[in-house]
């Protein structure tokens, strides 16, 4: 049994991200790509300071990936005819985000980036299923599951914080469902909104998220 401890949605105009970083950590995050800054802002919003030292894993999916940075790199390499600026190459590497945010999240043990291959793809059930399993195995105390996207005109972060024990702020319990999920929530980009709606409503005691791709994988949320 795991527990949903926070559900955070963030929307930014791209040029507002640095200010959000400054508000979160009191200073700018120098030489960090937009996705890295989004990850830092979201992680800080998801975890109160007392929780940031707990062993933490980060799973984050993205449709955009470092799209704008990759475009910039391609321009430099293919049109500039020379070698890129090191920072521009580094900005295309999403794996770097973890190293840059760990100083502010000292419990961060590893981070896995799952780039999505189309607009309608989503791995919420996969990420939550892995989180439940890894928490059960004792690999960590909490798992941050996120979707981060950065486009030319918008940036967004959706965050679910899953912990191995109920904190005071816990919203629901969750576990991998062992029975067929009928009437389940869809595994798509709107799932966090559906989860929020369920949390704020009172119609049903359970909400099941069925993986769109893996028939045996469903995650069941229950009210506390």
């Amino acid at each position: 049994m795991a527990f949903l401890n926070a559900l955070i949605t963030q929307q930014f105009a791209p040029d507002a991200i640095p200010a959000a970083v400054r508000a979160a950590i009191g200073k700018p995050l120098r030489r960090a790509a937009a996705l890295t800054q989004l990850a830092l802002v979201g992680a800080c919003a998801s975890l109160p300071e007392a929780q940031r030292g707990q062993p933490t894993l980060l799973l984050w999916q993205s449709i955009s990936g470092p799209r704008l940075e990759t475009q910039n790199l391609l321009d430099e390499v293919c049109l500039g005819g020379g070698e890129p600026m090191p920072y521009d190459f580094l900005a295309t590497q999403p794996a770097l985000a973890a190293a840059q945010i760990q100083p502010f999240l000292p419990g961060l043990r590893s981070a896995t980036h799952l780039p999505l291959d189309n607009e309608s793809a989503s791995h919420w059930a996969l990420m939550l299923g892995l989180a439940c399993t890894w928490l059960d195995q004792g690999r960590c105390a909490q798992v941050l599951c996120a979707q981060l996207d950065h486009w030319s005109d918008s940036a967004s972060g959706q965050w679910l914080t899953v912990t191995d024990r109920p904190l005071e702020t816990a919203l629901a319990s969750l576990q991998i469902a062992r029975e067929d999920a009928t009437g389940a929530a869809l595994d798509n980009a709107d799932f966090p909104a559906a989860l929020r709606e369920w949390l704020h409503g009172c119609q049903t005691s359970h909400l099941t998220l069925q993986s769109a791709a893996l028939p045996r994988l469903a995650v069941e949320f229950a009210r506390l």
Binding site: L74, C78, F89, Q93, P94, L96, A98, A99, T112
Partner: protein, 359 residues
């Protein structure tokens, strides 16, 4: 449910050969030649795929189809886990400006699935050099929990100037050769590879005994030279495998010939294995550093070598580095290895270790 996860098949297409056994034979024979690759006015050694075709997509398709065929029969709905650090950026380069980038950053994974005649779920992983083990970790977790029965994990890293130029701009590339743990080591040599393993709950010759990942935030481009975080991940991996250091009979090093990372890995190994150091092997002098594909490519190569009872020598190793104080295998061996540890140290601080065990 906790089920054992077996490696039941593998496929490989890289500079050294077009199957795991062919690559294993080439390494046993000591082959390690690279080709020069020009970048601006500089030349770097490089390990390209053995394909006489300059069309990026055509090369990719040939390699992926070839690797898929080596896996034997698999159901079309088998889940596919793709590991890469650059995906199809080389295709964008070849098509030129204006760069037609699809909306999904991993859209290339759909193309890979089509080439492999796979219509089931696809999941992509991009954690730089540790991408392959990230994908294996997720697939292993799902199989072990009974949520899927089989998975194909494919690592792919294909030629592109963006990666080469990026590493070159940071002065991380050797101009001569990859010399792991050697006093003369001066950087990485990049290469291409497509590699795959089929994981299954059904019995197979090898099993995933343990896997662990970690993070070293010492620097975005290199690990803590003391090796503490790397040692921590190796220890976590041994614990997950239920193994003691003395149980490990061979270590496939990350050792890419990088001055800093090689030293960090050596210091980590000394912390974990103290005086009882198992034989150490680096495959990168013969395969190149294939980045997001390296985890799968080196695993497939290692298992082929172990299945043949032919542990190669580490190519290009000659001079002991006093700071490292450890030497990789300098002579070939026919030792029977039943349990091996594989290390990955990733650009950007990602760390991963894997223990495989003969069934």
């Amino acid at each position: 449910m906790q089920r054992a996860v077996h490696i039941v098949a593998s496929g490989l297409f890289c500079a050294r050969g077009t199957s795991p056994s062919a690559v294993g034979e080439a390494l046993w024979a000591g082959e390690c030649s690279s080709q020069p690759r020009q970048l601006g006015e500089r030349h770097f050694p490089y390990f390209p795929l053995p394909v006489d075709d300059h069309d990026w997509s055509s090369r990719a398709e040939q390699a992926v189809r070839h690797v898929g065929a080596q896996l034997g029969r698999y159901a079309p709905y088998t889940p596919l886990f793709v590991a890469s650090s650059s995906f199809q950026i080389g295709l964008f380069e070849q098509c030129g400006a204006p760069f037609d980038m699809p909306v999904g950053s991993a859209s290339f994974s759909r193309q890979i699935a089509d080439w492999m005649a796979l219509s089931g779920p696809r999941t992509s992983f991009s954690t730089a050099c540790t991408s392959g083990f990230s994908a294996i970790d997720a697939a292993t977790t799902l199989i072990s929990a009974g949520l899927i029965d089989d998975a194909i994990v494919l690592g792919i890293e294909l030629t592109n100037n963006s990666t080469l130029a990026g590493f070159a701009a940071m002065e991380l590339l050797s101009r001569t050769a990859c010399r792991p743990f050697d006093a003369r080591r001066d950087g990485l040599v990049l290469g291409e590879a497509v590699a795959a393993i089929k994981l299954s709950a059904a019995p197979g010759p090898w099993k995933i005994a343990g896997i662990a990942s970690g993070l070293d935030a010492y620097s975005t481009t290199g690990p803590d030279p003391e090796g503490g975080p790397i040692a921590g991940v190796i220890s976590d991996c041994l614990r997950a495998a239920g193994a003691h250091p003395a149980d490990i009979e061979l270590i496939k090093l990350q050792a890419a010939g990088s001055p800093g990372s090689d030293l960090a890995e050596a210091n980590a190994l000394r912390q974990v294995f103290t005086e009882a150091m198992p034989p150490l092997l680096s495959l990168k002098p013969a395969l190149g550093h294939t980045l997001g594909a390296s985890g799968i490519a080196e695993l497939a190569t290692l298992l082929a070598s172990l299945d043949a009872g032919q542990i190669p020598a580490t190519a290009n190793y000659e001079d002991l580095d006093a700071d490292i104080g450890l030497a990789p295998t300098a002579v070939r061996s026919n030792a029977d290895v039943r349990r091996a540890l594989l290390n990955l140290i990733g650009f950007g601080g990602g760390l991963a270790s894997l223990v495989v065990e003969r069934c």
